[in-house]
Subunit: 172 residues, 2 copies
């Protein structure tokens, strides 16, 4: 069983977005640059996060992505499912119905015991990921990441501030 690396990238990117000051959104390219990730692949994962309602695109020249919900309300399980899909990891193909021990129709009312055990374990996994919110990752006590990320984001905002119009008039 292997989770795609997109899960790691999406979680780290959501942590960066959770650290963004009010009104700051980040284009996919800047998010990729932040952790030196491949921009095209990350863009695809950001689209998946957007479809899942975790991030949202902000249009315009200074647009990009921002969180669509409070980081306290975004569960780690949601981010993982946005990337990996919500289907079960164990797919039951009803092997039990083939062969000499196939149950009578009345025995098929309940799912196969093997599938039930496997799905129960998946529920335990998901429940554990449900216990963690994005805010727990982004604002972890004792971590300097939040302050460092915020400084970078503010500096980045200044770098991408609208330039004065080409005729030289100030916007102020």
């Amino acid at each position: 069983m292997r989770l795609s690396e997109g899960v790691e990238w999406a979680l780290h990117s959501c942590v960066v977005l959770a650290s963004a000051p009010e009104g700051v959104s980040l284009p996919a390219g800047r998010l990729a640059e932040y952790h030196e990730l491949p921009a095209a692949y990350l863009a695809k994962h950001l689209q998946a996060l957007s479809r899942a309602g975790i991030v949202e695109p902000v249009p315009g020249r200074r647009g990009g992505y921002r969180l669509a919900q409070d980081p306290k309300d975004i569960k780690v399980s949601q981010i993982v499912s946005a990337i990996e899909g919500t289907g079960p990891a164990f797919v039951c193909t009803e092997v039990r119905q083939k062969g000499p021990a196939a149950p009578a129709p009345s025995g098929l009312r309940q799912a196969c015991l093997i599938a039930r055990v496997m799905w129960q374990a998946e529920q335990a996994w998901l429940q554990e990921l449900n216990n963690w919110a994005l805010a727990d990752l982004a604002f972890a006590p004792g971590s300097e990441a939040y302050a460092k990320t915020r400084r970078w984001l503010l500096a980045s905002k200044e770098r991408t501030a609208p330039r004065p119009p080409p005729d030289g008039r100030s916007e102020r």
Copy 2:
């Protein structure tokens, strides 16, 4: 996240082997036939179960595979790990070390919080699979599978019983 279909096949095949009467071993081909599974793929999975010490090959003309341990001592987690590998589903590539929020060396003593959360969830999954033994699947109360499988295995044993030597002398 998706488990390979080999997990389902291996679990069902181990259930069949757990139902085998004393001294009966089953060739990979017969096990495949039982659930109408592709023989070549199942053979590969049986080799993996053998490497993990869950089944063992019995050499000879009436040989095949039998369980290497008491089904009460074989955990579902062992069968799943034999097929899927024992490595973590979430692989941490230390994304945190890249970019402007990279922690100081002292901050690297502990694994990344994102990895810790993901691994904790995997532990919950594995723990749940650890709570179930092969015997719980094979000898589930109310299931007719055990009796049906045993009848098939005994009939199968008779069909594959050694024939009298070609000169016609009886072995008795």
